[in-house]
């Protein structure tokens, strides 16, 4: 049994609106194993970022976690005191964000921003912190670290900024790294380098939760993945199974949209309809309005996650598993 770095159990989160409580995360459960990269895929607004923020305790009022547990290496984060919880961040769990330009303080030198993490969590002097930062810069592939240390964020390119973010996240050698769309704002060549960096980090033992709407990125680096839709996990499998034998109609739709580009067909395959309004979800399966194999029971009952193969679960009545060949 693999060691699990992160276990999320039945996490529910939402926020009150004028129309009542909107549930953004509905019994989300996922696991990240030690030294592995787990992907979390879905369209914009499906709740992936919200999940990340819930783990990082970054959901801002009036949004809040309403139920569920988050376990980091077995430790229940919800039962911790505030200060204890806060000190975990940056040290045991860290996060990198989508847009490195806005995620770094524009009026502070980048070196100082990275130093701050070390100085906060470990008892080191400023000089030692600077040394650690420079080491991390090198490990993250920042060329000429000495010079870059004194740069401001706007003086660095997008790829460099993201490397700085990674250095900042990894400097205290966290057990879990959450990467929220880390390469979306970067161009393809830089993206490849950043993904290589992440693979290297996972090899060294860090568990990574990689969030993306880009299936290509997920396919390249993840060991297994979860597909999210409208705040629920729709399917979960290891990466080969997911891409070769997708079970959920939504996953199938996503993949066929991508492969139609690759195979060059006349019309791009899309999933008809729109992402649902979370405050007005349909009864039954929330994907039913857009599903082409929708049955009567799908419109009446909401399906639960069920296992259809080893390590492969899906939230659908119609899906059938395929045994590993």
């Amino acid at each position: 049994m693999e060691e699990k770095t992160l276990i999320v159990e039945d996490l529910c989160a939402g926020f009150p609106t004028l129309r009542g409580e909107v549930c953004v995360l509905d019994h989300v459960s996922l696991e990240v194993a030690k030294g592995k990269i787990t992907g979390l895929v879905g369209e914009s607004g499906c709740g992936k970022s919200m999940t990340a923020r819930a783990v990082m305790n970054l959901i801002r009022f009036p949004g809040r976690v309403t139920s569920g547990r988050i376990l980091l290496e077995g430790q229940d984060l919800g039962s911790m005191g505030k200060k204890e919880r806060r000190m975990l961040q940056g040290q045991e769990i860290s996060m990198i964000f989508q847009d490195p330009m806005t995620s770094l303080n524009p009026v502070m030198k980048v070196g100082k921003q990275v130093d701050e993490t070390v100085l906060l969590h470990e008892h080191v002097t400023r000089d030692e912190a600077k040394k650690r930062t420079l080491e991390m810069f090198e490990a993250a592939g920042v060329p000429d670290p000495e010079r870059r240390y004194h740069c401001y964020p706007h003086q660095l390119s997008g790829g460099l900024r993201q490397r700085v973010m990674i250095a900042m996240a990894m400097i205290c050698r966290p057990k879990l790294l959450i990467a929220d769309e880390p390469t979306t704002a970067l161009d393809v060549t830089v993206e490849a380098q950043i993904l290589d960096l992440m693979k290297e980090m996972s090899r060294k033992g860090t568990g990574i939760l990689l969030i993306s709407h880009n299936l290509g990125v997920i396919a390249q680096v993840c060991d297994d993945a979860y597909v999210m839709y409208a705040g629920k996990i729709a399917e979960q499998a290891d990466i080969c199974t997911l891409f070769d034998h997708p079970a959920h109609p939504y996953t199938k739709g996503l993949l066929s949209a991508v492969s139609s580009l690759r195979n060059g067909c006349e019309t791009l395959k899309t999933i008809p309809g729109n992402v649902p309004d979370l405050s007005r979800l349909p009864a039954g399966c929330c994907f039913s309005p857009r599903c082409d194999c929708c049955r009567q029971e799908c419109k009446e009952k909401a399906p639960e996650m069920r296992e259809i193969g080893p390590g492969h679960s899906v939230r659908c009545f119609a899906a059938e598993g395929v045994t590993a060949e």
Partner: protein, 304 residues
């Protein structure tokens, strides 16, 4: 209320019927929305309307004449007969306040309106034409804006002499600078927009472009600016009159009343307090209204 990201999520999910149909939000619709959502702005609008009513109906609201002196009853504190007391000439303070509102409010509104028109025209022309016209107009605006406001007002009043008309002129000449600057920056922004390019490419003349495309789009910003400049004008006039440089007796303005009341500050504080409070209410109302308008009009602008 909600964080940026959460706002994005909510925005993605919330459908607003108007957006789908592409409903054009007319000024009336916006005003109604503002009044519905922003209680403070609604109350302020009411207060302003009330003030205008007082101004117009002054003779009917009080039984005393504007200059009715009653030397036997000088410096009386507020009482049943005189709701706000009497001043040093025995005149009813409330009456003077009501009649004074005519001057003070008009002095707030008319010159601001005029300076808006002047400033907007100059600013738009400067922004649209560019080049020498732009430089000249902007340097002039810079010069006007460099003076501390009271000192500029004082110098212009000195040159023109005292009296109501000159106060109007002074306030107009003082304020066009900031309007011009804003109008110019809006024009520069709009000049680059696609529909202006399109209009130019089909040969619409400069003037028509300004008239049909640029001015209407500057209008929301200018309206907000107007409501925020009126209180400044009221304050400047009251300060000028307070120093004895603005409205001259026997006409009343709130600022002048404060000045004359100052001599009796310690034994008859209501003489200065009543007009000061009136000034404050006027200033607050216009500020709130301006804020409310800005909330309603500006986000719409950015969407465009």
């Amino acid at each position: 209320m909600l964080r940026k990201k959460e706002k994005q999520i909510v925005a993605a999910f919330e459908h607003r019927a108007g957006d789908e149909i592409g409903e054009q939000e007319t000024f009336g619709v916006l005003m109604r929305r503002m009044l519905r959502e922003n209680k403070l702005a609604a109350v302020s609008l009411l207060v302003i309307i009330l003030m205008f009513l007082c101004m117009a109906l002054a003779p009917m609201l009080t039984s005393y004449g504007e200059t009715d002196m009653d030397l036997l009853n000088r410096l009386q504190p507020p009482s049943g007969a005189h709701l706000l007391g009497t001043d040093e000439g025995g005149r009813d303070v409330l009456t003077r306040l009501l009649y004074g509102s005519r001057v003070s409010l008009m002095v707030g509104i008319v010159p601001t309106l005029l300076s808006m028109v002047l400033g907007a025209l100059l600013g738009v022309v400067a922004g649209y034409r560019g080049g020498l016209t732009d430089t000249v107009i902007m340097r002039l605006a810079d010069v006007v804006l460099a003076f501390p406001s009271m000192l500029l007002a004082m110098v212009i009043m000195y040159t023109l002499g005292g009296g109501l008309f000159n106060v109007f002129l002074t306030l107009t000449l003082m304020n066009w600078g900031s309007v011009a600057r804003i109008a110019r920056s809006e024009t520069l922004r709009l000049k680059e927009s696609e529909y202006v390019e399109a209009a130019r490419s089909i040969g619409v003349s400069g003037w028509n472009i300004i008239r049909r495309h640029i001015l209407p789009n500057c209008l929301p910003t200018l309206i907000v600016l107007f409501t925020l400049n009126v209180p400044a004008a009221i304050l400047t006039e009251s300060s000028l009159s307070f120093l004895g440089l603005g409205i001259q007796p026997p006409s009343a303005s709130w600022g002048l009343m404060v000045n004359t009341g100052r001599q009796y500050l310690y034994n008859a504080p209501w003489l200065s307090f009543a007009p000061s409070a009136a000034i404050m209410v006027a200033v607050l109302s216009f500020n709130f209204l301006g804020d409310g308008l800005r909330d309603v009009l500006d986000p719409r602008q950015r969407k465009q």
